[in-house]
């Protein structure tokens, strides 16, 4: 796949110490889950940051772990959202 802009939020962003980056994943990275696994293979802090319950969004729409990131220009990774008690 082509280059994709990753956005990080919440604890993922804090663990990675950055709010995003541009990456060029290999062709076997097809889904949100694939993308998180591929990033985790980089080692720390990625392995820890992406090791929990990581959610995603593709082109600013909520996406499940099995949803495609193929051809996407903007993909976000984040922990479970919500701030209401």
């Amino acid at each position: 796949m082509a280059e994709v802009d990753l956005l990080y939020f919440g604890a993922v962003r804090e663990a990675l110490g950055r709010d995003g980056e541009r990456v060029d994943p290999p062709s076997h990275v097809l889904t949100i889950a694939d993308l998180a696994s591929w990033l985790a293979e980089r080692g720390e802090p990625y392995a820890s940051a992406l090791g929990g319950d990581v959610r995603g969004a593709v082109e600013a729409h909520m996406a499940g772990p099995g949803d495609s990131v193929f051809g996407a220009r903007e993909v976000a990774l984040f922990p479970p959202p919500g701030v209401i008690a």
Partner: protein, 125 residues
Amino acid sequence: MIDVRVQAADFDPGRQLARLEALGNAAVASFVAAAECGEEGLLVEHYPALAKNELAAIAAEADSRWHLAGLILIHRHGRFSSGDRLAFVAVAAPARAAALEACAFLVEALATRAPFWRRESLREE
């Protein structure tokens, strides 16, 4: 009437309720969420484009499931002190059950699906 807002500014619950009361329905149910945090305050970050889309999707889902006359969703972001308002949900409907159920659905959806996060550390980045 569906009104969905993502904003840094505070809001007036009474004024928002009055907008729904003006629709002339028998029931208006509402919910105000407030920040709970220590003296250091709370920073709520969000993903603006996703927030816009997801809140609109949540509102549309409620509007399709219940017979509603009006719906207001407000979710704030930014810095908060304890007690500051975080979010607001209100619905007007001809019957109490629809208003109460839709309000509860919307609150649960905001609490679990709206792309806002507590910043654990308040260090500036």
